[in-house]
Symmetry: C2
Subunit: 225 residues, 2 copies
Amino acid sequence: MADTGTATPRERYRAQVRAEIKERAWQQIATTGASALSLNAIAKQMGMSGPALYRYYANRDELITELIRDAYRSLADTLRSAAEKAAEEGSEEGGGGLVVLAHAVRAWALRDPQRYLLIYGTPVPGYHAPDDITAISSQIMTLLLDAASTTTPPRRPETPLDHHLATHRDWAGDHPAPPAVLHRALSFWTRIHGVLSLELAGHFAGMGFDPALLFAAELDDLPAR
Amino acid sequence: MADTGTATPRERYRAQVRAEIKERAWQQIATTGASALSLNAIAKQMGMSGPALYRYYANRDELITELIRDAYRSLADTLRSAAEKAAEEGSEEGGGGLVVLAHAVRAWALRDPQRYLLIYGTPVPGYHAPDDITAISSQIMTLLLDAASTTTPPRRPETPLDHHLATHRDWAGDHPAPPAVLHRALSFWTRIHGVLSLELAGHFAGMGFDPALLFAAELDDLPAR
DNA sequence: TGTACATCAGTGAACGCGCGTTCACTGATGTAC
DNA sequence: TGTACATCAGTGAACGCGCGTTCACTGATGTAC
C-alpha cells in the first residue's frame, strides 16, 4: 500500500489480497460483532477455500490484531489532522482544539460503529493486544493532551483529583501538561466515550432526543477553563 | 424464590436448579464473556448431560434473557434502596441524591463487571431484548429523574439542549421534570458510564491514576446547579 | 396403607453444523543461466 | 530467447472439537383411589 512503486507484481498482489481480507473482515464484524469473526466465512465470501487465508495471516488472532491496529492508526490520523486544522484556523472560542477533536472522533465513530467498539467496547474475550498497539493508543493520549493544553491556564482551586494527578501521571509520559490539563483530557475522553458508546450500542434508541446535542453539551462544560 | 412457602418440593427443586444454572452462567460470562455462553459447558459443570438443561430453559436465548432481566432488576433495586437511604439522611450537600446513586452504581458494577457490561456494554450479536426488559430499564431512568429533581432549580441560561429536550422527552414519560433536570439526568448517566465502562473494560490499566477520583470529579460538576 | 397411574428429571445417542488449523499436493508465476 | 529450477498461491481432504437442539427412553417422584 505504502510504496507500490518498488513492489514486485507478486508483492502488489499479496498486499491487495490482504487488504480485501481485512475489508471482508470489517463487513463481517459490522454485522455479527468481532467475537464471531470467522476465517472460513471470509474465505467463502472471497470465493476461496479456507486454508488459503493462511498464506496471508498466520491465524485468526493475527488478523484481529491487524484490524485493531488499523483502527487505532486510523483514529490517531483522524485526530492528528483535526488538530492541525484546528491549529490553522486558530479557533480558540469554546473549548479550544478539543471541540474540533471531539467532533472528529464522533464523525469517525459514526462512520463505522463497530470499528470504534472494537477499540473501546467490551474487550474480545481471550484476546490480548500486543505491545505496539498500546504504543499507538498512547499516541492518541498525547494528541488529547496537546489539544487540552491549548486553552488558557485554569483559574480554579485545586481539586483532590488535581492533587492526585500531580503524582499519578504514568500515562502522560514526559508531557509537560499540568494536573488541571490532565484532568481536562481525562474528562474529555470519558465524556466523549460515555455519550458515544451508549449511542453506538443503541441505548438511546427510542428515547427521542438527538444524541448530537447531548454530545455538544457535555463538551461545553469541561473542567479547567 | 419468592414464595417458597406455598411451593411443592418439586417446584422448590426446580427453582433451585434454575438458580444454579444461572449462577454457573454468570461464572462463565465472567471469564469468557457473554457471547461465548455455552449450555453444554454449564451442564458439564453441574455434572449433568447437555440436554437436561432443556427441562429448565427452552433454549440459549431464554437463559440470556433471564440473565439480562436479573441484571436490570438488581440494578434497579440497588438504585431504589440507595435513593431511599439518601432521602432518609437528607444529604443535600454536593449533588443531592445523585451522588449517592452514582456510588451505588459504581459499587454494583465493580462487584461484578460482566453484569454491568452485559447490560450497557457492546450488545450481544444477534440478540434482541424482549419488551419487558425495556420496561425495567425505563424504571431505572425514572429513578434517575427523581434523584436529579431533588436539587434546587437551575439558575443558568437555557441551552440548546434544554430547548431540544423540552419537546423531545419520550424517554421521560409523564415525569414532571423540567428540561434542565432531564439534561442533568442524561449527563449523570453518560458520565457515569463513560468512566465506568472504560474502567471495567480495562482501558485505565497501566495509566497509573485512581479511577475513583476521576469518577467523583465527573460528578462534582454536573450541569444545572 | 397399598396399588395403579401420571408426571417429570435426566440420560445417551444422534444430527447437522461450523470452526481453526495441518498437510500433501497441483499448477501457475517468477528467476537464473 | 529458451530452458531448468525455485518460489509461491490455492486446493481438497482430513482432524478434532464444541456447539445447539431433537428424540426415544429409563427411573424416580408424586397423585388418586
